[in-house]
Symmetry: C2
Subunit: 235 residues, 2 copies
């Protein structure tokens, strides 16, 4: 950790950092009473996420929002779980499970404290309507604004996303700090001149696959939770 | 008034509808102790707004955010008020008066009630950083998201702005209702298939120039205030 300049804006990654996608998808799959391993299903669905975005980023597929990528992946994995007969209506409803993910327990209280001192925005690959639904579902995540890959028609880690936050909020890149549970996201933000805060989410992939959350070089801050982050930022 | 379909999203015009630009600019000009008629100064500054946007819309000037248009207009009007000697630093600070406008007294309570039932977004020609500052300044305007002409790189009344709200929030145009104190804005939204609610703001231009706020044909709703709007919407 080197001394860092106090940010004006905190930009938050959402899936895994703010909301517990694994727990939410497992809960919804189990609620449907499907004869599948809900943990494996959640991991497979999320596993298709990066390859799908990469198809868009390589130009093999035009701009496609995450809702539609999630649906493509769902259609791909259902046969692998013996669920190829799932009717359209159920597929559609299940796909919106991604709009009903709960925030981690520290999130609402942490954001409320951070909002007193910083401008809070999302910077997520999730589409805008998904992020708005998550904020309302989560008991009111108090974002000052909701920015998405969709705003820039580029997925993270494209520099246009990190630099776009600074441009739209009229600050220098160094006045934005990305808060994320993923080192690759943070490294891309750092390369654009943003500050970075890593958040430990050891249960991002569920209890069967505990994530290594040990500190790595290069981040300005390393926090166990959003409340810990408030302390590190003196907020 | 014809029967209207209940919206999912309320999109709010901001200058004049949500915040009192005239009162805010008068207050800041008076606080500087300038030897000018603050009322006339505020009206002249706002008077340059539409012509400046039209230069951008006609392509005579590339995309320019409102902060920069406000500054161009300020530089144009200062000599007319004998203030051509105003130093750069003071011009810059005065220009940010537009980020410190107060909401009308009914706004915060009205939005808090409306938020229980509807998704609330801005749809303003103001740039994103300005809208975020206004929301924080105004005691926390509880927007679910902040959309701006800047999001679409088109100023209202371009259809791309009204239709863009529906697209980004993943609803049909008829599921969006524009809330505004200006009939031309509402007419353009109506032409795109949005619902419309007119809000009476008789003091938008100050007490010296009371605005005619009598109902006009075509709007779904005509409300005296945001609290009256909640009643009309059954919220």
């Amino acid at each position: 950790m080197t001394p860092f300049s106090q940010p004006k804006v905190l930009a938050f990654d959402v899936f895994g950092t703010v909301v517990d996608w694994h727990g939410g998808i497992v809960r919804e799959v189990e609620a449907l009473g499907l004869a599948v391993d809900a943990n494996a299903f959640a991991l497979a669905w999320r596993g298709g996420y990066r390859p799908a975005m990469q198809r868009v980023m390589r130009g093999e597929q035009g701009w496609t929002r995450i809702d539609d990528l999630h649906r493509q992946i769902l259609d791909e994995i259902l046969p692998r779980f013996g669920l190829q007969a799932m009717p359209e209506e159920q597929r559609h409803a299940l796909n919106f499970a991604w709009h009903r993910l709960d925030p981690w327990p520290d999130v609402v209280a942490g954001l409320q404290r951070l909002k007193q001192r910083f401008i809070l925005t999302t910077l997520s690959n999730g589409n805008l309507s998904l992020l708005v639904d998550l904020a309302r579902h989560g008991g009111g995540l108090p974002w000052d604004c909701v920015l998405s890959a969709e705003t820039f028609q580029r997925y993270k880690p494209d520099p246009a996303t990190y630099l776009g936050v600074a441009r739209l909020l009229d600050v220098q890149p160094a006045q934005v700090m990305l808060v994320a549970a993923h080192h690759d996201d943070l490294a891309a933000a750092r390369a654009c001149g943003l500050g970075t805060a890593y958040i430990e989410r050891p249960l991002e992939f569920g209890a069967s696959q505990i994530k290594d959350v040990s500190p790595q070089d290069g981040n300005d801050l390393h926090a166990r939770s959003f409340l810990h982050l408030t302390e590190l930022l003196g907020a």
